[in-house]
Symmetry: C2
Subunit: 321 residues, 2 copies
């Protein structure tokens, strides 16, 4: 089997470095949703923690290592969730955190980054511009740049979700993972490949932000000129080569979904699970909605990965029925 940068031994070992508030998230069957979709639906819920996304698993590892190495500062680019998580983890261990984000990011994400005590710098462009600016700050100020999905801790943190899925004892045939930079997809995918190779690993990305999916299909880095999706958490345009290589090993498929399917998925998670989630968290349900036959009668696990959404946008998209 081809290797990746990840392995389960390291992922298991990493777990002790993560605050338990991020671990052991619920994994439960949602029968009403399954009945609508014609398959079993297991929700792995990553929103019931202090930062309302899975990103804390990774930032706990990052910050632990930086502090152990005597670092006092860190900078990252963030679509909004990584920044919150890094701010939370940094605050707890006395690390100064700078977050660079697009000024078009959801207000709730920007407000929370500030409220958690990080320095927030906004760029007048998209996430890729924020990445450039964060790298420049790191070079200029000589501080550590955290790069989501490239830095192994971000993948290993996310991979602990995979360990929990496997250890739950609840069988599932497929796992649907939101695909952005690739930390969660490669992390969970690695665990499935090693511990549950019979589980199909499917990455899901919006049609409006397809760079990593196209790259996976063409087996080379493909960038896009723009990204146009409500799923702000996965709206990257420049895939990272090392992450793509890992993804090519661990993912069984990568699919693209329409915006209206994402909205329909958000609506179903509200109706049947009482969860108000951000668009990226509904990508898995969207994938089922777009290809019911593929999933019919199977047990599908989907990671509800974030809940940071501006309510006015949410209700404009979803309505309230």
């Amino acid at each position: 089997m081809a290797t990746t940068r990840l392995d389960v031994g390291r992922i298991r070992a990493a777990r002790v470095g993560i605050d338990p508030v991020f671990l052991g998230s619920p994994f439960f069957g949602c029968e009403p949703l399954g009945a609508r979709l014609g398959c079993g639906v297991g929700i792995k819920l990553e929103t019931a923690n202090p930062v309302r996304s899975f990103k804390g698993r990774g930032t706990e590892l990052v910050v632990g290592q930086l502090v152990a190495g005597g670092q006092r500062d860190v900078v990252c680019a963030s679509a909004g969730n990584l920044g919150q998580a890094l701010a939370w983890s940094g605050r707890g261990r006395g690390l100064e955190v700078t977050v660079v984000a697009s000024r078009f990011a959801p207000r709730v994400k920007l407000e929370r980054i500030r409220a958690l005590g990080a320095r927030l710098e906004l760029v007048d462009g998209d996430h890729e511009l924020a990445r450039e600016r964060a790298a420049a700050i790191a070079r200029y100020d000589g501080i550590r740049l955290l790069e989501d999905s490239l830095d192994l801790e971000t993948c290993e943190g996310a991979a602990t979700i995979g360990l929990e899925l496997v250890e739950s004892g609840t069988p599932f045939d497929v796992v649907l993972i939101a695909l952005g930079g690739g930390a969660m997809a490669t992390g969970i995918g690695q665990v499935m490949n090693e511990l549950a190779p019979e589980v199909e690993v499917i990455c899901v990305q919006p049609m409006g932000a397809p760079a990593m999916t196209r790259s996976w299909r063409e087996r080379r880095v493909v960038t896009t000129e723009s990204a146009d999706t409500i799923a702000d958490g996965v709206a990257g345009r420049f895939p990272i080569a090392e992450v793509l290589e890992d993804l090519l090993v661990v993912a069984d498929d990568a699919v693209l979904v329409r915006e209206e399917s994402i909205v329909a998925g958000m609506r179903l998670l509200m109706q049947d699970a009482g969860l108000i989630v951000e668009p990226s968290a509904a990508l898995g349900i969207a994938a089922v909605l777009e290809d019911r036959e593929r999933f019919a009668g199977r047990q599908v696990a989907t990671v509800v990965c974030g809940g940071n959404v501006d309510l006015d946008s949410y209700y404009r998209w979803v309505g309230n029925k």
Copy 2:
């Protein structure tokens, strides 16, 4: 110290009889909500499981014992959540479940009880009439009647929430518990009394359904002629003497809240935690809203105990902002 029918040793031992899907629920700080309320808010989330309420903890114990004892049937009265949980637990172990409920119970609760394979009988009256009818069925058919809060397993199951709160390692000064029949309040209260006596145990009930609170205050069973609250899960009128006796030992206070505070609490849980909850689950937040001074600067744990609510009612109460 006065004794109750409960003890932590038994509660600890009970845990092995509960499906893990109901255990280890999230307990996390919600800082945006805390900032609004002027206190630390820790949410113990009991809605991310197959029945979207805490009741599965107790029904797992009940059904385990009944099956071990060779029983094949059980009947209960339910406001809607106990019935779902009993149906879920019974289905898994081949026990026939009959649920008696008010025909005025939320549609989603009645639909889910049916979908889980239980026999559902509706009464044209409130929960107290359902209790009478369930008792009659048990007598007539010679099958076991499960009585919420009176049957120790229901209290012990709920009490495992208290164990998890204490074991979380996250300090808190106060725990706010929705008060209905009293299983959750006596169960969690018992754990606090034994393991964390410094924690203030406050029960919260709607002003429109105050029977148990009045009973606690007068130290004798007080019934009411009617109950009028949107918090259908706690709308009993006839407190059980044995449960009241336990509650008198373990509760530090019992408070009543207005309907508009319950609605405001539901709205805050949506805005700041992305959770659509049923009214009973917002009683704790309602109590803080009604007496901010009492909780100012303290660390408050509140059990978000159920999420089964009809969405049309929900949005009629709460709006979507």
